[in-house]
Symmetry: C2
Subunit: 172 residues, 2 copies
DNA sequence: GGAGAATTGTAACGATCGGTACAGGATCAG
DNA sequence: CTGATCCTGTACCGATCGTTACAATTCTCC
């Protein structure tokens, strides 16, 4: 595992798949190919710091690929393309959404709130630029439906709920 | 803790709050007031059986309070009342939805799929009885939005997304 | 009351948990 | 080449994990 971004990427997949408690250092070590020594050298704060770093990494990616373009260009269509690709058409879980459901929500509360607030606000701004009324409630609803679509697609083992939700969200 | 239902209720809260991995036997013992001996007497299959029993218990409650009335009377308004109360206006996590996001989804796949399928089908039937077109996609969307509303309400520490979602879903 | 079953608390099991210590390899400037 | 710094594999720490075993207690029914 060469650079820090690759490590954070692999780290994210482990947290995504097993949750915070289920992501043991042994599993993380296996997934990243890094021994405990390297892991604790990179993240002296241990698991807590690893999770914080992953959340920050994800937020940074969204900021660059989604939030910022949304604010600058107001291009919602392009955003849905990126969102659909990122979440692998409902086959990939939203780590931050998953963390919001368990006791991890309290530990990473500010980062979790920030992620969703940024997304909603950026989308609301884009809607407003497009002349949409009630832009903020619409943005809340849109983000909410993406999260629900992921849950349902995972639960049913079927990407259709996600696909039709994204298709529907594109209409506005 | 007197009867089995009370135990399952307390058990559910532990799984809800800490997730499957985070719900240790020690925590479960403390939450239920039952020693390890009693726990393994009630659930010889250990944690796995506890989780299965909780999921079944939840499904049974929904079947009685929500799915069945929905199929028989088609009263969607009454359903939303029960749903809002059960999920404490977004303050209470959907255990089965949460299980669908991590590796627990594979372990309890059939029960998870069954829960959501029952809900969607019952709601679709009610919509159809009410003369709604595209009843099934509408039902999928409604259940999906409830799940998303829970995620977002938890993430923001704010019940408003849940409240407005339920209010909106009542309109159809 | 007393035999038998059902329930319970306690102690212990091996395994694994997150985290630490540290010796030695790799790397690089001088 | 030398010394210092960075990096990493390994062994180990106490604590806790899920589970088992079992003796003691409580309950049930005759």
């Amino acid at each position: 595992m060469s650079n820090r971004d690759d490590v954070l990427e692999a780290l994210g997949e482990v947290f995504r798949h097993y949750g915070y408690e289920g992501a043991s250092i042994a599993r993380i070590s296996a997934a990243t190919g890094l021994g405990k020594g390297s892991l604790y050298h990179l993240f002296p704060g241990g698991k807590d710091e690893m999770a914080t770093a992953v959340i920050t990494h994800i937020h940074d990616w969204f900021e660059r690929a989604i939030f910022s373009p949304l604010r600058l260009t107001g291009d919602t269509d392009g955003m849905w393309d990126h969102v659909a690709a990122y979440f692998n058409r409902g086959g990939r879980v939203c780590l931050i959404g998953a963390f919001a459901l368990a006791d991890t929500r309290d530990r990473f509360a500010t980062a979790i709130t920030r992620y969703f607030t940024c997304w909603i606000d950026a989308l609301a701004l884009a809607y407003r630029q497009g002349g949409v009324e009630n832009a903020h409630p619409m943005a809340v609803n849109a983000v909410l439906r993406v999260q629900g679509a992921i849950v349902l697609s995972q639960a049913l083992g079927n990407t259709q709920p996600f696909e039709t939700t994204i298709a529907d969200l594109r209409l506005h």
